[in-house]
């Protein structure tokens, strides 16, 4: 089945040209290419080594792109449409189909056993299940989602992956953080994978281009600022928050980091990622951001053959 294509809006093109400069053409080119078929071994149920061997015995050609993260795998052989999701190993929860760029926030958050972690905007659960695996089902993971329909998807995915250390809540993220603050319930680590305009997902969801709208970006930017402000309040001293989006819009990315740095007692942590990234911008249109915003990471599809992403790690000062 061929994917329907959508024409990018002139303002979107103008903005991406401004962001990418000479890389714009290669960016537009890679959008036409099918995304790689990546997935993550669910180490709560099976080891990466055993899963890889098992899938290779089925005749799948499996690549482990990053030696340091053997749970991240790519299928290089041709599969039938939907075969990755229909395979018995998927149904039994041995792996989670997840785009590589979407795995990065949890690699950066680096949750550890026995920590207390909040996944504020959790559905569909790709990062929630990744967090639980890193925590080895210990500590406490609170996975929150505001929308009822999306809670069901979250529940199905966490169950399939055998996530046992989680309490799942349904509440507006800002209100939830406020109540946590009132009760002095604080977290070692928080993932804020914020609702966003999704510019980075065009390869897999071309319809994003049709829905793209500058006004939505501005509305989302306000929501994201409120979310990060609320989340920082419930971090323990020295606690860490990873803020991520799957969009390239600076209003939803660097502007949020700049807002957090200017208004709260947090600092940017330099991060290392296993693939090529571009540092955050410090100037966009008429706005100038703090110098440290450059330690944010932009993930562009043309650089690492992934979807597009943005992420930054902030630490609450003691």
């Amino acid at each position: 089945m061929t994917k329907r294509t959508y024409e990018p809006k002139p303002l979107f093109i103008e903005r991406m040209k401004k962001l990418l400069g000479k890389d714009f053409d290669s960016y537009m080119e890679i959008l036409k290419k099918e995304p790689v078929r990546s997935f993550r071994c669910n180490t709560l149920k099976i080891s990466s080594e055993v899963l890889k061997k098992r899938l290779e015995e089925k005749g799948w050609k499996i690549k482990i792109p990053f030696e340091k993260f053997p749970e991240i795998m790519i299928v290089e052989s041709d599969l039938q449409p939907g075969e990755l999701g229909r395979a018995i190993e998927h149904l039994l929860g041995y792996y989670y189909i997840q785009e590589i760029a979407s795995m990065l926030p949890v690699l950066v958050l680096n949750p550890k056993p026995n920590e207390r972690v909040l996944d504020l905007c959790a559905s569909p659960g790709s990062k929630t299940t990744q967090i639980a695996a890193r925590m080895e089902n210990t500590g406490l993971l609170i996975a929150n989602e505001v929308k009822f329909g999306r809670v069901k998807i979250l529940a199905a995915n966490t169950e399939r992956c055998g996530v046992m250390n989680m309490i799942m809540t349904r509440k507006d993220g800002i209100a939830l953080c406020k109540r946590f603050k009132d009760e002095n319930i604080l977290f070692d680590k928080i993932l804020l994978d914020a609702p966003c305009s999704g510019e980075g997902t065009i390869r897999s969801t071309p319809k994003t281009l049709e829905m793209w709208n500058i006004n939505t970006i501005k509305l989302l930017s306000n929501l994201q600022k409120s979310l990060i402000a609320s989340a920082i309040e419930i971090l323990k001293p020295n606690g860490e928050i990873v803020y991520s989006t799957c969009t390239h819009a600076p209003e939803e990315d660097e502007e949020i980091v700049d807002y957090a740095l200017k208004n709260f007692n947090v600092q940017v942590e330099k991060i290392e990622l296993p693939l090529k990234t571009v540092q955050g911008i410090t100037k966009w249109e008429d706005k100038e951001y703090l110098e440290d915003v450059k330690y944010s990471c932009r993930v562009y599809p043309q650089n690492a053959d992934t979807e597009g992403f943005f992420l930054v790690k902030l630490r609450k000062k003691k």
Binding site: R86, L91, R116, T158, R160, G162, M164, M166, T169
Partner: protein, 170 residues
């Protein structure tokens, strides 16, 4: 959870953590049915029939606070269901996987063709000479629980976990 003596009831979902004696009773039943000797996590009942396991570290007070201000939609993982007629326990796929190292009895091993049919959600029309709930297994995979009667094994694989096409190789 802190102590096992307290009963923590969550208002948003009908979930109740088992106290020490309730937990011991359940483990005794798991031992009788499947040889399981120990559950190292908290156990809770969800409604009348469902049992969940929770490995998170949280105090009873915190869970009550959370319950007051956030809608708790789920805790831990669905582990087993209590059969309404026999009161026997039927372990979910995750239940069998989580405790696979402890399951020593009432295991029924399938061949490849049967495993494929099982994962497609089909009852298996085979006379086994056995009766009751059996853990279903194929090679190293634990595939939930089946109810064996005279000439068939009844299937409980939920729709969302079923194989869609026969040609998919196990």
């Amino acid at each position: 959870m802190g102590g096992n003596e307290e009963i923590v009831q969550i208002k948003m979902i009908p979930l109740k953590f088992l106290n020490k004696s309730e937990k011991e009773k359940l483990v005794r039943q798991l031992n009788e049915q499947f040889g399981i000797k120990e559950i190292p996590w908290e156990i809770a009942r969800l409604g009348k029939e469902r049992i969940i396991l929770f490995s998170g570290k949280v105090s009873e007070k915190e869970i009550q606070i959370l319950d007051r201000f956030a809608r708790i939609e789920g805790v831990g993982v669905y582990f087993a269901k209590i059969d309404e007629k026999t009161n026997d326990l039927r372990l979910s796929i995750e239940g069998t996987q989580l405790l696979k190292n402890q399951i020593t009895k009432n295991i029924f091993e399938l061949d490849e063709k049967q495993a494929e049919e099982w994962m497609m959600g089909q009852d298996l029309n085979i006379a086994t000479g056995k009766k009751g709930f059996y853990i279903i297994k194929f090679k190293d995979d634990f595939l939930g629980t089946g109810k064996i009667s005279e000439n068939k094994i009844s299937n409980f694989i939920p729709k969302s976990r079923r194989l869609k096409y026969k040609e998919v190789k196990l």
